[in-house]
Protein backbone atom coordinates (compact mmCIF):
# COMPACT_ATOMS: atom_id res chain seq x y z
CA UNK A 1 0.00 0.00 0.00
CA UNK A 2 2.86 2.39 0.88
CA UNK A 3 4.36 1.84 -2.53
CA UNK A 4 1.44 3.59 -4.23
CA UNK A 5 2.25 7.19 -3.19
CA UNK A 6 5.88 6.58 -4.13
CA UNK A 7 4.82 5.24 -7.51
CA UNK A 8 2.57 8.27 -8.01
CA UNK A 9 5.41 10.65 -7.16
CA UNK A 10 7.68 8.75 -9.53
CA UNK A 11 5.08 8.94 -12.32
CA UNK A 12 4.53 12.68 -11.78
CA UNK A 13 8.27 13.31 -11.85
CA UNK A 14 8.62 11.14 -14.93
CA UNK A 15 5.77 12.94 -16.72
CA UNK A 16 7.22 16.30 -15.78
CA UNK A 17 10.66 15.42 -17.05
CA UNK A 18 9.20 13.86 -20.21
CA UNK A 19 7.16 16.97 -20.93
CA UNK A 20 10.12 19.15 -20.18
CA UNK A 21 12.26 17.02 -22.43
CA UNK A 22 9.79 17.47 -25.26
CA UNK A 23 9.78 21.24 -25.36
CA UNK A 24 11.79 22.79 -22.61
CA UNK A 25 14.51 25.30 -22.64
CA UNK A 26 16.92 25.84 -19.83
CA UNK A 27 16.07 28.09 -16.92
CA UNK A 28 18.96 30.32 -17.88
CA UNK A 29 17.65 30.89 -21.42
CA UNK A 30 14.15 31.85 -20.24
CA UNK A 31 15.72 34.12 -17.62
CA UNK A 32 17.79 35.77 -20.35
CA UNK A 33 14.69 36.30 -22.52
CA UNK A 34 12.68 37.72 -19.62
CA UNK A 35 15.57 40.01 -18.68
CA UNK A 36 15.83 41.31 -22.26
CA UNK A 37 12.06 41.87 -22.47
CA UNK A 38 11.97 43.62 -19.10
CA UNK A 39 14.89 45.77 -20.12
CA UNK A 40 13.08 46.77 -23.35
CA UNK A 41 9.88 47.59 -21.43
CA UNK A 42 11.88 49.76 -19.03
CA UNK A 43 12.94 51.98 -21.94
CA UNK A 44 9.32 52.83 -22.74
CA UNK A 45 7.19 55.65 -21.37
CA UNK A 46 3.72 55.02 -19.95
CA UNK A 47 1.90 55.64 -23.23
CA UNK A 48 4.19 53.26 -25.10
CA UNK A 49 3.85 50.61 -22.39
CA UNK A 50 0.08 50.92 -22.64
CA UNK A 51 0.30 50.35 -26.39
CA UNK A 52 2.63 47.38 -26.25
CA UNK A 53 0.96 45.41 -23.46
CA UNK A 54 -2.11 43.14 -23.88
CA UNK A 55 -3.81 40.55 -21.75
CA UNK A 56 -2.46 37.03 -22.23
CA UNK A 57 -5.90 35.81 -23.28
CA UNK A 58 -6.65 38.72 -25.63
CA UNK A 59 -8.16 36.77 -28.54
CA UNK A 60 -8.36 39.81 -30.83
CA UNK A 61 -4.66 40.52 -30.50
CA UNK A 62 -3.80 36.84 -30.90
CA UNK A 63 -5.58 36.89 -34.26
CA UNK A 64 -4.00 40.16 -35.34
CA UNK A 65 -1.20 38.73 -37.49
CA UNK A 66 -0.88 38.43 -41.23
CA UNK A 67 1.40 38.14 -44.24
CA UNK A 68 0.03 41.45 -45.52
CA UNK A 69 1.75 44.86 -45.25
CA UNK A 70 0.47 47.48 -42.81
CA UNK A 71 -1.29 49.42 -45.55
CA UNK A 72 -3.69 46.51 -45.92
CA UNK A 73 -3.66 44.82 -42.52
CA UNK A 74 -3.62 46.92 -39.36
CA UNK A 75 -1.57 45.69 -36.42
CA UNK A 76 -1.51 46.90 -32.84
CA UNK A 77 1.43 47.30 -30.50
CA UNK A 78 4.48 49.48 -30.93
CA UNK A 79 5.64 50.41 -34.41
CA UNK A 80 9.36 50.00 -34.90
CA UNK A 81 9.56 53.34 -36.71
CA UNK A 82 8.08 55.09 -33.67
CA UNK A 83 10.80 53.87 -31.32
CA UNK A 84 13.92 55.79 -30.47
CA UNK A 85 17.21 54.25 -31.54
CA UNK A 86 18.01 52.81 -28.05
CA UNK A 87 14.45 51.45 -27.79
CA UNK A 88 14.70 49.83 -31.22
CA UNK A 89 18.02 48.31 -30.24
CA UNK A 90 16.47 46.96 -27.04
CA UNK A 91 13.59 45.50 -29.07
CA UNK A 92 16.00 43.64 -31.36
CA UNK A 93 17.87 42.41 -28.27
CA UNK A 94 14.63 40.77 -27.09
CA UNK A 95 14.36 39.02 -30.46
CA UNK A 96 17.99 37.99 -30.30
CA UNK A 97 17.41 36.40 -26.87
CA UNK A 98 14.17 34.70 -27.92
CA UNK A 99 15.51 33.30 -31.21
CA UNK A 100 18.41 31.15 -32.30
CA UNK A 101 21.31 32.76 -34.13
CA UNK A 102 19.97 31.37 -37.43
CA UNK A 103 16.42 32.36 -36.58
CA UNK A 104 17.47 35.89 -35.71
CA UNK A 105 19.41 36.21 -38.96
CA UNK A 106 16.46 34.86 -40.97
CA UNK A 107 14.04 37.33 -39.38
CA UNK A 108 16.43 40.24 -39.87
CA UNK A 109 16.85 39.29 -43.55
CA UNK A 110 13.08 39.06 -44.10
CA UNK A 111 12.71 42.56 -42.65
CA UNK A 112 15.63 43.75 -44.78
CA UNK A 113 13.93 42.31 -47.89
CA UNK A 114 10.89 44.44 -47.16
CA UNK A 115 13.16 47.46 -46.91
CA UNK A 116 14.55 46.54 -50.35
CA UNK A 117 11.00 46.14 -51.68
CA UNK A 118 10.03 49.49 -50.21
CA UNK A 119 13.02 51.23 -51.75
CA UNK A 120 12.47 49.70 -55.18
CA UNK A 121 8.74 50.36 -55.11
CA UNK A 122 8.43 53.46 -53.03
CA UNK A 123 6.04 51.75 -50.63
CA UNK A 124 3.36 54.39 -50.63
CA UNK A 125 0.01 53.38 -49.21
CA UNK A 126 1.12 49.79 -48.64
CA UNK A 127 3.86 50.86 -46.25
CA UNK A 128 6.85 48.61 -46.77
CA UNK A 129 10.15 48.74 -44.89
CA UNK A 130 11.84 48.19 -41.54
CA UNK A 131 9.79 50.83 -39.76
CA UNK A 132 6.53 49.00 -40.40
CA UNK A 133 7.10 46.09 -38.01
CA UNK A 134 5.21 45.89 -34.73
CA UNK A 135 6.06 44.42 -31.35
CA UNK A 136 3.61 43.52 -28.59
CA UNK A 137 3.41 41.44 -25.42
CA UNK A 138 0.42 39.39 -24.29
CA UNK A 139 0.90 38.91 -20.58
CA UNK A 140 3.92 40.18 -18.68
CA UNK A 141 7.32 38.64 -19.46
CA UNK A 142 7.85 36.03 -16.77
CA UNK A 143 9.90 32.90 -16.10
CA UNK A 144 6.89 31.20 -14.52
CA UNK A 145 3.67 32.70 -15.90
CA UNK A 146 2.60 32.33 -19.57
CA UNK A 147 3.20 35.21 -21.97
CA UNK A 148 3.48 35.83 -25.70
CA UNK A 149 5.93 37.92 -27.68
CA UNK A 150 4.53 39.06 -31.04
CA UNK A 151 6.68 40.61 -33.73
CA UNK A 152 5.45 41.10 -37.24
CA UNK A 153 4.79 43.11 -40.35
CA UNK A 154 4.83 42.38 -44.06
CA UNK A 155 5.78 38.73 -44.66
CA UNK A 156 6.49 38.09 -41.00
CA UNK A 157 4.37 37.11 -38.01
CA UNK A 158 6.18 35.66 -35.02
CA UNK A 159 3.97 34.54 -32.14
CA UNK A 160 6.32 33.15 -29.51
CA UNK A 161 4.56 31.72 -26.46
CA UNK A 162 6.47 31.07 -23.25
CA UNK A 163 5.05 28.91 -20.49
CA UNK A 164 7.64 28.67 -17.75
CA UNK A 165 10.65 27.13 -19.40
CA UNK A 166 8.63 25.86 -22.39
CA UNK A 167 8.32 27.77 -25.67
CA UNK A 168 6.71 27.52 -29.08
CA UNK A 169 6.54 29.73 -32.17
CA UNK A 170 3.22 28.25 -33.35
CA UNK A 171 1.54 29.83 -35.21
CA UNK A 172 4.11 31.84 -37.15
CA UNK A 173 4.37 33.07 -40.70
CA UNK A 174 7.56 33.70 -42.62
CA UNK A 175 7.65 34.97 -46.17
CA UNK A 176 9.81 37.09 -48.40
CA UNK A 177 9.76 39.37 -51.40
CA UNK A 178 12.17 39.69 -53.08
CA UNK A 179 13.39 36.19 -52.21
CA UNK A 180 16.84 37.11 -53.46
CA UNK A 181 18.57 40.48 -53.17
CA UNK A 182 21.95 42.11 -52.89
CA UNK A 183 23.15 43.73 -49.69
CA UNK A 184 26.60 45.19 -49.26
CA UNK A 185 27.84 43.17 -52.18
CA UNK A 186 26.40 39.88 -50.89
CA UNK A 187 23.56 37.85 -52.36
CA UNK A 188 20.91 37.31 -49.68
CA UNK A 189 18.23 34.60 -49.78
CA UNK A 190 16.31 34.73 -46.47
CA UNK A 191 14.42 31.50 -47.21
CA UNK A 192 17.14 29.97 -49.37
CA UNK A 193 17.83 27.02 -47.05
CA UNK A 194 14.15 26.01 -47.00
CA UNK A 195 14.03 26.10 -50.79
CA UNK A 196 17.29 24.21 -51.37
CA UNK A 197 16.61 21.52 -48.76
CA UNK A 198 13.10 20.91 -50.13
CA UNK A 199 14.36 20.41 -53.69
CA UNK A 200 17.09 18.11 -52.41
CA UNK A 201 14.49 16.00 -50.61
CA UNK A 202 12.01 15.74 -53.50
CA UNK A 203 14.85 14.84 -55.86
CA UNK A 204 16.08 12.12 -53.51
CA UNK A 205 12.80 10.22 -53.92
CA UNK A 206 12.55 7.33 -56.37
CA UNK A 207 9.74 7.17 -58.94
CA UNK A 208 7.37 5.21 -56.72
CA UNK A 209 7.97 7.58 -53.79
CA UNK A 210 7.47 10.63 -56.00
CA UNK A 211 4.19 9.22 -57.21
CA UNK A 212 3.02 9.22 -53.60
CA UNK A 213 4.48 12.60 -52.69
CA UNK A 214 3.39 14.70 -55.66
CA UNK A 215 -0.21 15.86 -55.47
CA UNK A 216 -0.50 16.85 -59.13
CA UNK A 217 -2.77 19.84 -58.58
CA UNK A 218 -2.27 23.59 -58.56
CA UNK A 219 -1.58 24.95 -55.07
CA UNK A 220 -2.07 28.66 -55.41
CA UNK A 221 -1.69 29.50 -51.73
CA UNK A 222 -1.19 28.25 -48.19
CA UNK A 223 -4.06 26.03 -47.05
CA UNK A 224 -3.62 26.89 -43.36
CA UNK A 225 -2.22 30.40 -43.67
CA UNK A 226 -3.09 33.43 -41.55
CA UNK A 227 -6.75 33.49 -40.53
CA UNK A 228 -7.11 29.71 -40.54
CA UNK A 229 -6.45 29.18 -36.83
CA UNK A 230 -7.92 26.00 -35.39
CA UNK A 231 -8.44 24.35 -38.77
CA UNK A 232 -6.99 20.89 -39.38
CA UNK A 233 -6.65 18.94 -42.61
CA UNK A 234 -6.10 15.37 -43.63
CA UNK A 235 -2.38 14.75 -44.30
CA UNK A 236 -1.35 13.84 -47.86
CA UNK A 237 1.72 12.88 -49.84
CA UNK A 238 4.31 10.34 -48.75
CA UNK A 239 4.44 9.14 -45.16
CA UNK A 240 7.69 9.22 -43.20
CA UNK A 241 7.49 5.44 -42.77
CA UNK A 242 7.82 5.10 -46.57
CA UNK A 243 11.03 7.15 -46.65
CA UNK A 244 14.53 5.81 -46.19
CA UNK A 245 16.47 6.69 -43.05
CA UNK A 246 18.48 9.25 -45.01
CA UNK A 247 15.33 10.81 -46.47
CA UNK A 248 13.76 11.02 -43.00
CA UNK A 249 16.87 12.89 -41.84
CA UNK A 250 16.47 15.25 -44.81
CA UNK A 251 12.80 15.79 -43.91
CA UNK A 252 13.70 16.67 -40.31
CA UNK A 253 16.52 18.90 -41.49
CA UNK A 254 14.05 20.73 -43.74
CA UNK A 255 11.58 21.12 -40.83
CA UNK A 256 14.39 22.47 -38.67
CA UNK A 257 14.41 25.61 -40.84
CA UNK A 258 11.17 26.51 -39.02
CA UNK A 259 11.58 24.81 -35.63
CA UNK A 260 15.10 26.23 -35.48
CA UNK A 261 13.86 29.82 -35.56
CA UNK A 262 13.24 29.71 -31.81
CA UNK A 263 16.17 29.67 -29.41
CA UNK A 264 18.45 26.63 -29.42
CA UNK A 265 17.03 24.93 -26.33
CA UNK A 266 13.39 25.17 -27.45
CA UNK A 267 14.38 24.21 -31.01
CA UNK A 268 16.22 21.13 -29.78
CA UNK A 269 13.26 20.06 -27.69
CA UNK A 270 10.86 20.47 -30.63
CA UNK A 271 13.20 18.53 -32.90
CA UNK A 272 13.17 15.62 -30.44
CA UNK A 273 9.39 15.68 -30.67
CA UNK A 274 9.52 15.63 -34.50
CA UNK A 275 12.06 12.79 -34.47
CA UNK A 276 9.72 10.75 -32.29
CA UNK A 277 6.89 11.24 -34.78
CA UNK A 278 8.84 11.14 -38.04
CA UNK A 279 7.31 7.86 -39.24
CA UNK A 280 3.87 9.49 -38.93
CA UNK A 281 4.96 12.70 -40.67
CA UNK A 282 3.92 13.32 -44.29
CA UNK A 283 5.61 15.20 -47.09
CA UNK A 284 3.54 16.52 -50.01
CA UNK A 285 4.69 18.38 -53.10
CA UNK A 286 2.99 20.28 -55.90
CA UNK A 287 4.71 21.71 -58.94
CA UNK A 288 7.89 21.07 -60.89
CA UNK A 289 10.82 19.33 -59.20
CA UNK A 290 13.59 21.11 -61.10
CA UNK A 291 15.74 23.11 -58.68
CA UNK A 292 14.78 26.78 -58.35
CA UNK A 293 11.37 26.36 -59.95
CA UNK A 294 8.20 27.45 -58.20
CA UNK A 295 6.79 24.57 -56.16
CA UNK A 296 4.59 24.16 -53.12
CA UNK A 297 5.31 21.70 -50.30
CA UNK A 298 3.83 20.67 -46.97
CA UNK A 299 5.20 18.79 -43.96
CA UNK A 300 2.48 17.45 -41.70
CA UNK A 301 2.81 15.29 -38.62
CA UNK A 302 0.88 14.75 -35.39
CA UNK A 303 2.43 17.84 -33.80
CA UNK A 304 3.46 20.01 -36.74
CA UNK A 305 2.23 21.55 -39.99
CA UNK A 306 4.57 23.49 -42.25
CA UNK A 307 3.62 24.88 -45.66
CA UNK A 308 5.69 26.69 -48.28
CA UNK A 309 3.85 28.38 -51.15
CA UNK A 310 5.39 30.51 -53.90
CA UNK A 311 3.11 33.39 -54.95
CA UNK A 312 2.61 34.06 -58.61
CA UNK A 313 1.97 37.76 -58.03
CA UNK A 314 4.84 40.11 -58.66
CA UNK A 315 5.88 38.13 -61.74
CA UNK A 316 8.32 35.36 -60.94
CA UNK A 317 6.77 33.11 -58.26
CA UNK A 318 10.19 32.02 -57.00
CA UNK A 319 10.81 35.59 -55.86
CA UNK A 320 7.76 35.83 -53.63
CA UNK A 321 7.28 33.12 -51.00
CA UNK A 322 4.82 32.57 -48.16
CA UNK A 323 5.26 29.93 -45.44
CA UNK A 324 3.41 28.94 -42.29
CA UNK A 325 4.42 27.01 -39.18
CA UNK A 326 1.76 25.50 -36.94
CA UNK A 327 1.53 22.99 -34.12
CA UNK A 328 -2.03 21.62 -34.23
CA UNK A 329 -1.95 20.55 -30.59
CA UNK A 330 -0.01 23.51 -29.25
CA UNK A 331 -1.01 26.77 -30.95
CA UNK A 332 -0.14 29.67 -28.62
CA UNK A 333 1.11 27.05 -26.15
CA UNK A 334 -2.34 25.50 -25.65
CA UNK A 335 -0.73 22.09 -25.19
CA UNK A 336 1.69 23.37 -22.55
CA UNK A 337 -1.13 25.01 -20.63
CA UNK A 338 -3.19 21.80 -20.54
CA UNK A 339 -0.45 20.26 -18.44
Amino acid sequence: MQARPLLLIFLILFAHSALGGASAQTDSSISKIVAAATSFLSTLDDAQRHKVQFEFKDETQRKRWSNLPMGIFKREGLRSGDLSEPQRKAMWTVLQAALSANGYEKIARIVEADEVLGKSDGGGRLMFGKDEYYVSFLGAPSASEPWILQFGGHHLALNITFVGNLATIAPSHTGVQPAIYQLEGKTIRPLGQETDKAFALINSLNDAQRKEAILGVQMRDLVLGPGRDGQSIQPEGIKGSSLTEKQREMLLDLASEWTGIQNEAAAKAKMLDLQKNVAETWFAWSGPTEKNSAAYFRIQGPTVIIEYAPQRLGGDATKHIHTIYREPTNEFGAGFLKH
Partner: protein
Protein backbone atom coordinates in the same frame (compact mmCIF):
# COMPACT_ATOMS: atom_id res chain seq x y z
CA UNK B 1 -16.28 64.11 -59.01
CA UNK B 2 -12.97 62.37 -58.63
CA UNK B 3 -9.92 64.38 -59.69
CA UNK B 4 -7.22 63.02 -61.99
CA UNK B 5 -4.52 63.06 -59.27
CA UNK B 6 -6.81 61.01 -57.04
CA UNK B 7 -7.53 58.51 -59.81
CA UNK B 8 -3.80 58.28 -60.59
CA UNK B 9 -3.03 57.77 -56.92
CA UNK B 10 -5.60 54.98 -56.75
CA UNK B 11 -4.17 53.31 -59.85
CA UNK B 12 -0.66 53.59 -58.41
CA UNK B 13 -1.83 52.07 -55.15
CA UNK B 14 -3.40 49.16 -57.03
CA UNK B 15 -0.21 48.59 -59.01
CA UNK B 16 1.72 48.43 -55.72
CA UNK B 17 -0.68 45.89 -54.35
CA UNK B 18 -0.01 43.93 -57.53
CA UNK B 19 3.64 43.83 -56.61
CA UNK B 20 2.93 42.23 -53.28
CA UNK B 21 -0.33 40.34 -53.13
CA UNK B 22 -3.23 38.51 -54.65
CA UNK B 23 -4.66 40.76 -57.29
CA UNK B 24 -6.81 39.33 -60.02
CA UNK B 25 -8.28 36.21 -58.49
CA UNK B 26 -10.70 35.19 -55.82
CA UNK B 27 -9.31 32.47 -53.57
CA UNK B 28 -12.02 29.98 -52.64
CA UNK B 29 -10.79 27.55 -49.98
CA UNK B 30 -13.13 24.72 -49.07
CA UNK B 31 -12.79 22.50 -46.00
CA UNK B 32 -14.94 19.38 -45.94
CA UNK B 33 -15.64 17.53 -42.72
CA UNK B 34 -17.23 14.10 -42.81
CA UNK B 35 -19.25 12.95 -39.81
CA UNK B 36 -21.46 9.86 -39.47
CA UNK B 37 -24.63 11.91 -39.86
CA UNK B 38 -23.73 14.91 -42.02
CA UNK B 39 -21.17 16.53 -44.29
CA UNK B 40 -19.92 19.91 -43.07
CA UNK B 41 -18.58 22.41 -45.58
CA UNK B 42 -16.69 25.59 -44.76
CA UNK B 43 -16.05 27.89 -47.70
CA UNK B 44 -13.65 30.83 -47.35
CA UNK B 45 -13.54 33.55 -50.00
CA UNK B 46 -10.57 35.95 -50.19
CA UNK B 47 -10.96 38.38 -53.09
CA UNK B 48 -7.94 39.98 -54.71
CA UNK B 49 -7.91 43.75 -55.11
CA UNK B 50 -8.89 43.74 -58.79
CA UNK B 51 -11.87 41.44 -58.33
CA UNK B 52 -13.09 42.65 -54.94
CA UNK B 53 -15.36 45.36 -56.38
CA UNK B 54 -17.06 42.78 -58.57
CA UNK B 55 -17.69 40.56 -55.55
CA UNK B 56 -18.86 43.45 -53.35
CA UNK B 57 -21.22 44.59 -56.12
CA UNK B 58 -22.80 41.13 -56.01
CA UNK B 59 -23.14 41.21 -52.22
CA UNK B 60 -24.08 44.84 -51.58
CA UNK B 61 -27.32 44.76 -53.56
CA UNK B 62 -28.60 48.17 -52.43
CA UNK B 63 -25.20 49.78 -52.99
CA UNK B 64 -25.06 51.46 -49.58
CA UNK B 65 -21.43 50.32 -49.05
CA UNK B 66 -22.35 48.15 -46.10
CA UNK B 67 -23.28 44.49 -46.00
CA UNK B 68 -26.53 43.83 -44.19
CA UNK B 69 -27.58 40.53 -42.61
CA UNK B 70 -30.16 40.13 -45.38
CA UNK B 71 -27.50 40.67 -48.06
CA UNK B 72 -25.23 38.14 -46.36
CA UNK B 73 -28.08 35.63 -46.40
CA UNK B 74 -28.96 36.20 -50.07
CA UNK B 75 -25.31 35.97 -51.12
CA UNK B 76 -24.72 32.78 -49.12
CA UNK B 77 -27.80 31.18 -50.65
CA UNK B 78 -26.60 32.16 -54.16
CA UNK B 79 -23.17 30.75 -53.37
CA UNK B 80 -24.79 27.47 -52.31
CA UNK B 81 -26.62 27.11 -55.62
CA UNK B 82 -23.39 26.55 -57.52
CA UNK B 83 -21.88 24.09 -55.03
CA UNK B 84 -22.61 20.40 -55.11
CA UNK B 85 -21.83 17.62 -52.67
CA UNK B 86 -22.75 13.99 -53.15
CA UNK B 87 -21.89 10.78 -51.32
CA UNK B 88 -21.78 7.65 -53.47
CA UNK B 89 -23.66 9.52 -56.22
CA UNK B 90 -26.43 10.61 -53.86
CA UNK B 91 -26.62 14.41 -53.96
CA UNK B 92 -27.00 16.19 -50.63
CA UNK B 93 -29.18 19.24 -50.07
CA UNK B 94 -26.93 21.92 -48.57
CA UNK B 95 -28.13 24.18 -45.80
CA UNK B 96 -26.38 27.43 -44.84
CA UNK B 97 -25.62 27.40 -41.12
CA UNK B 98 -23.69 30.64 -40.65
CA UNK B 99 -21.87 33.36 -42.55
CA UNK B 100 -19.19 35.85 -41.49
CA UNK B 101 -18.39 38.76 -43.78
CA UNK B 102 -15.51 41.17 -43.19
CA UNK B 103 -16.43 44.82 -43.90
CA UNK B 104 -16.33 45.98 -47.56
CA UNK B 105 -13.28 48.14 -46.82
CA UNK B 106 -11.29 45.02 -45.84
CA UNK B 107 -12.64 42.99 -48.73
CA UNK B 108 -11.68 45.80 -51.10
CA UNK B 109 -8.12 46.01 -49.70
CA UNK B 110 -7.37 42.36 -50.33
CA UNK B 111 -7.25 41.37 -46.66
CA UNK B 112 -10.92 40.52 -46.18
CA UNK B 113 -12.50 37.12 -45.79
CA UNK B 114 -15.97 35.70 -46.20
CA UNK B 115 -16.61 32.46 -44.32
CA UNK B 116 -19.75 30.46 -44.98
CA UNK B 117 -20.56 27.26 -43.09
CA UNK B 118 -22.95 24.75 -44.63
CA UNK B 119 -24.05 21.21 -44.03
CA UNK B 120 -25.69 18.39 -45.95
CA UNK B 121 -27.59 15.95 -43.80
CA UNK B 122 -27.32 12.27 -44.62
CA UNK B 123 -30.51 10.27 -45.00
CA UNK B 124 -29.02 7.25 -43.24
CA UNK B 125 -25.86 6.59 -41.20
CA UNK B 126 -22.76 5.93 -43.31
CA UNK B 127 -20.98 2.59 -43.35
CA UNK B 128 -18.35 0.88 -45.49
CA UNK B 129 -16.21 2.35 -48.27
CA UNK B 130 -17.63 5.54 -49.76
CA UNK B 131 -16.77 8.37 -52.13
CA UNK B 132 -17.66 12.01 -51.64
CA UNK B 133 -17.71 14.35 -54.62
CA UNK B 134 -17.51 18.13 -54.24
CA UNK B 135 -17.76 20.72 -56.98
CA UNK B 136 -17.53 24.50 -56.80
CA UNK B 137 -18.83 26.22 -59.93
CA UNK B 138 -18.77 29.75 -58.51
CA UNK B 139 -16.94 32.37 -60.62
CA UNK B 140 -14.59 30.01 -62.39
CA UNK B 141 -13.36 32.86 -64.63
CA UNK B 142 -11.71 34.68 -61.73
CA UNK B 143 -11.11 32.05 -59.04
CA UNK B 144 -8.27 30.05 -57.56
CA UNK B 145 -9.56 27.06 -55.62
CA UNK B 146 -8.40 24.88 -52.75
CA UNK B 147 -10.31 21.89 -51.43
CA UNK B 148 -9.26 19.75 -48.47
CA UNK B 149 -10.77 17.10 -46.24
CA UNK B 150 -10.74 18.04 -42.58
CA UNK B 151 -9.02 15.51 -40.31
CA UNK B 152 -11.98 13.48 -39.01
CA UNK B 153 -12.76 13.90 -35.33
CA UNK B 154 -14.80 10.73 -35.27
CA UNK B 155 -12.48 7.71 -34.93
CA UNK B 156 -14.77 5.48 -37.02
CA UNK B 157 -14.11 7.62 -40.12
CA UNK B 158 -10.90 7.30 -42.13
CA UNK B 159 -9.95 9.39 -45.14
CA UNK B 160 -8.35 7.05 -47.66
CA UNK B 161 -7.56 9.27 -50.60
CA UNK B 162 -8.18 12.75 -51.98
CA UNK B 163 -8.29 13.37 -55.72
CA UNK B 164 -8.82 16.76 -57.33
CA UNK B 165 -8.91 18.24 -60.81
CA UNK B 166 -6.00 20.50 -61.72
CA UNK B 167 -7.49 23.76 -60.44
CA UNK B 168 -9.19 22.12 -57.41
CA UNK B 169 -12.69 23.26 -58.33
CA UNK B 170 -13.64 19.60 -58.23
CA UNK B 171 -12.57 17.03 -55.68
CA UNK B 172 -13.27 13.47 -54.59
CA UNK B 173 -12.68 12.10 -51.12
CA UNK B 174 -12.56 8.33 -50.67
CA UNK B 175 -13.29 7.38 -47.09
CA UNK B 176 -14.38 4.46 -44.92
CA UNK B 177 -16.75 4.31 -42.00
CA UNK B 178 -16.54 1.47 -39.49
CA UNK B 179 -19.61 0.86 -37.41
CA UNK B 180 -18.78 2.03 -33.90
CA UNK B 181 -18.90 -0.53 -31.06
CA UNK B 182 -22.14 0.83 -29.68
CA UNK B 183 -23.64 1.10 -33.18
CA UNK B 184 -22.50 -2.42 -33.98
CA UNK B 185 -24.07 -3.71 -30.78
CA UNK B 186 -27.32 -1.86 -31.53
CA UNK B 187 -27.43 -3.42 -34.97
CA UNK B 188 -26.43 -6.96 -33.97
CA UNK B 189 -28.22 -7.19 -30.62
CA UNK B 190 -31.62 -8.15 -32.13
CA UNK B 191 -29.93 -10.77 -34.32
CA UNK B 192 -28.07 -12.28 -31.37
CA UNK B 193 -31.22 -12.26 -29.24
CA UNK B 194 -33.21 -13.97 -32.02
CA UNK B 195 -30.47 -16.57 -32.46
CA UNK B 196 -30.36 -17.23 -28.70
CA UNK B 197 -34.13 -17.58 -28.56
CA UNK B 198 -34.09 -19.97 -31.54
CA UNK B 199 -31.30 -22.03 -29.95
CA UNK B 200 -33.17 -22.16 -26.61
CA UNK B 201 -36.33 -23.25 -28.43
CA UNK B 202 -34.42 -25.91 -30.31
CA UNK B 203 -32.80 -27.19 -27.12
CA UNK B 204 -36.20 -27.26 -25.40
CA UNK B 205 -37.74 -29.26 -28.27
CA UNK B 206 -34.80 -31.68 -28.38
CA UNK B 207 -34.90 -32.18 -24.62
CA UNK B 208 -38.66 -32.67 -24.66
CA UNK B 209 -38.37 -35.25 -27.45
CA UNK B 210 -35.64 -37.06 -25.50
CA UNK B 211 -37.68 -37.09 -22.29
CA UNK B 212 -40.71 -38.34 -24.18
CA UNK B 213 -38.72 -41.11 -25.85
CA UNK B 214 -37.22 -42.19 -22.49
CA UNK B 215 -40.66 -42.24 -20.97
CA UNK B 216 -41.94 -44.30 -23.91
CA UNK B 217 -38.93 -46.65 -23.53
CA UNK B 218 -39.61 -47.05 -19.79
CA UNK B 219 -43.22 -47.91 -20.50
CA UNK B 220 -42.16 -50.58 -23.06
CA UNK B 221 -39.45 -51.95 -20.74
CA UNK B 222 -41.89 -51.97 -17.81
CA UNK B 223 -44.40 -53.91 -19.88
CA UNK B 224 -41.66 -56.36 -20.86
CA UNK B 225 -40.54 -56.90 -17.28
CA UNK B 226 -44.10 -57.38 -16.27
CA UNK B 227 -44.58 -60.01 -18.93
CA UNK B 228 -41.30 -61.77 -17.93
CA UNK B 229 -42.39 -61.72 -14.39
Amino acid sequence: MKSWPLILAMLLAISRVAEAHRLDDLLQAAFIEITPTEIRLQLNLNPGVEVSDKLIWMIDRDGDRTISAAEEKIFSECLKQRLSVSVDNHPLALEVLSAEFDPPSELRSGSGNIKVEMRGRLSHPLAGMLRLRFENRNWSEMSAYLVNAVLPRNPTIRILKQVRNDNQSLGWIDFSVEPSKSEGWTRTAPLIATALLAMSGLLFICRKQRVDSIRRGNQIDGGGVASVK
